[in-house]
């Protein structure tokens, strides 16, 4: 068991290191001159040289890489070129929008998806099942940012229940901040919940065909009890894995959806950084996003191994 955990954690550290090297190569080594890239074609050689000195780009690449990695632990990630403030501070400030948004979306997706999937499976093949499957097929096809725009059209422009975008800040207006995240969270969650609903239904149908379900029924439990105590638990194991894999789509989704609702989160920051060629900022942001995906996948692997001992050997 200890061996399994160690192997997974070592894998995590190695993958993170590889990701950091790749990002560093793509953004700071391959383009040749990052200072030139950031300033654009109209820059004079003097300003490029000044920026290069300011960012420490005259040091060897290996040294720069090491100081970046060390900075990840100390929080000193350098100054953002466009915002002129420390990258660490920018990220800390924006994460207060993205983390609650992603969490809300994940909880919504899991709740809606697992409920609908269980409902579809437990009713057998009938109108309920067919309706849920048809709706989920539609949900998968609709891009999250279009959901966002449709929600704005209905709930902001027409009904005026929710703001169409922007974020008042947690300190200034906690209730308003929460309201600002409701529509984006639903927009992010619905396509994911559609995938989860289909997955839960398939897994549930498989589990309901197992012998231990018949045994549970035979010993006198009613349908609801069997469903809750025996079927759901077993059926959820593959669903949790899919939930972990879906997380990478959720992370990518926040980048787009934050832009739909003009939310000052990490995703919007990243797109703005790309627009401003702010390589210093892009570097750390991309690593943060990719690192989150890698961490979640490792956590799912670990959880899976804890639940099902057979998988430890295979790993």
């Amino acid at each position: 068991m200890g061996h399994f955990i160690l192997r997974r954690l070592a894998g995590f550290v190695l993958t993170m290191l590889a990701a950091a090297i790749l990002i560093f190569l793509l953004l700071e080594v391959l383009p040749g001159d990052p200072a030139g890239t950031m300033l654009g074609v109209s820059a004079t050689p003097e300003t490029v040289a000044a920026l290069r000195a300011e960012l420490g780009l005259d040091r060897p690449a290996f040294q720069r890489f090491l100081s970046w990695i060390l900075g990840l632990f100390t929080g000193d990630l350098g100054l953002s070129y466009t915002y002129r403030v420390p990258v660490g501070g920018l990220i800390a400030e924006r994460i207060a929008v993205t983390l609650p948004l992603a969490t809300m979306a994940l909880v919504l997706a899991a709740t809606i998806g697992i409920t609908l999937g269980t409902l579809a499976a437990s009713r057998g093949s009938g109108p309920v099942d067919a309706a849920i499957m048809a709706v989920s097929q539609l949900g998968i096809a609709i891009p999250n940012f279009w959901f966002g725009i449709l929600f704005v059209l209905l709930f902001s422009v027409t009904l005026g229940w929710f703001p169409s975008g922007g974020f008042p800040g947690w300190q200034a207006d906690p209730a308003g901040a929460f309201r600002a995240l409701v529509l984006p969270a639903f927009a992010l969650a619905l396509p994911q919940s559609a995938v989860l609903a289909r997955m839960t239904r398939t897994s549930m149908l498989e589990t309901l065909g197992e012998d231990f379900i018949r045994t549970a029924r035979a010993k006198g439990l009613n349908r609801a009890q069997v469903l809750r105590r025996h079927a759901l638990r077993n059926a959820l194991i593959p669903v949790i894995t899919v939930l972990g894999l879906q997380f990478s789509f959720l992370v990518a989704g926040t980048i787009v959806v934050e832009n739909v609702f003009a939310l000052p989160g990490l995703g919007r920051l990243l797109v703005q950084a790309v627009g401003g060629h702010d390589l210093i900022l892009i570097k750390s942001l991309v690593l943060l996003f990719v690192g989150t995906v890698i961490a979640v996948n490792t956590a799912v692997d670990l959880a899976y191994g804890l639940i099902d001992p057979r998988l430890r050997i295979a790993a």
């Binding site: 449709l150 169409s164 832009n259 892009i282 990719v290």
Partner: protein, 275 residues
């Protein structure tokens, strides 16, 4: 098999819809109702009429024509992204399966897990930062993200085929490895790969729409459904039609290819038929 296909509702709907979209995209190469790039400032944000079937956008361009050309770009994205993913993924997956138990298999699968940690939008942002935004770069990024998906499916399917008796028979008859691969393995995993291609095609259309929405994909004046949605947001209260039509086009295309994939899966392998 054809009879089963004709009785399969999701396959039928998917096939008809995809054919329709492909026809529209192909037609746009030769004919659109109006010139999709022609601006008519006096005719801006007009509703549907006999002259402009689906109305005009904020520059007075014909929405129906832009949507048609957008279909072409969406399908092209799907096609190239799937080709990249399928080409490299199939090769790597089959190779890994052949080398199972050896370090090569492990190395390939680890490398692919690594690629999979970069969602398409992120790898696109990385690529676009030094290559500049554009449809081609976006498509490459989406294609790269597809590689691990195809490779995993190909590896799993190849392992299953390699364990079958007829492969052992061929090996005993001293049939060369490559011939076994071409004659026995590939035909047996083709079905699964086609099904996966259909799903990834749909996902590629979604990814391109997302990237173009962010301004990182197709660049103006080349039309893209994702970009149209971004432009439409400014005029949401005035003409919601501009936000509804491109979204509908994206959703219908994705739905079409997903249904097609689901249908093909059931038809090619009746055991998997949804219960």
């Amino acid at each position: 098999m054809i009879a089963r296909a004709l009785r399969h509702p999701s396959f039928l709907i998917g096939a008809v819809l995809s054919l329709l979209i492909c026809t529209v995209a192909l037609a746009s190469l030769f004919w659109t109702p109006e010139d999709p790039t022609k601006m008519r400032i006096l005719m801006r944000l007009k509703g549907p009429s006999a002259e402009f079937w689906l109305g005009t956008d904020q520059f007075g361009r014909d929405v129906a024509s832009i949507l048609m050309v957008g279909a072409r770009n969406a399908l092209l994205t799907g096609l190239v992204a799937v080709a990249i993913g399928l080409g490299f993924g199939l090769m790597l997956g089959v190779m890994a399966a052949q080398m199972k138990g050896r370090w090569i298999d492990d190395a390939i699968m680890r490398a692919l897990d690594f690629v999979f940690a970069f969602p398409a939008v992120l790898s696109a942002i990385l690529i676009l930062t030094f290559l500049g935004p554009g449809l081609v770069n976006a498509v490459i990024a989406i294609g790269i993200f597809n590689i691990p998906v195809f490779a995993r499916v190909a590896r799993g399917a190849t392992l299953q085929v390699l364990a079958r008796d007829f492969i052992r028979a061929a090996q005993l008859a001293r049939v060369p490895k490559l011939v076994i691969l071409r004659r026995h393995v590939l035909p047996n995993i083709a079905g699964l790969m086609i099904v996966q291609a259909s799903t990834q095609f749909a996902l590629a259309i979604l990814a391109e729409a997302g990237l173009s929405y962010l301004g990182l994909g197709t660049q103006p004046p080349n039309p893209s459904w994702g970009r149209m949605l971004n432009d439409a947001q400014t005029f949401l209260a005035m003409s919601p039609r501009l936000a509804l039509l491109p979204g509908l086009a994206i959703a219908l295309s994705v739905l079409a290819f997903n249904l097609l994939g689901d249908g093909l899966r059931d038809i090619l392998d009746p055991r998997l038929e949804e219960r």
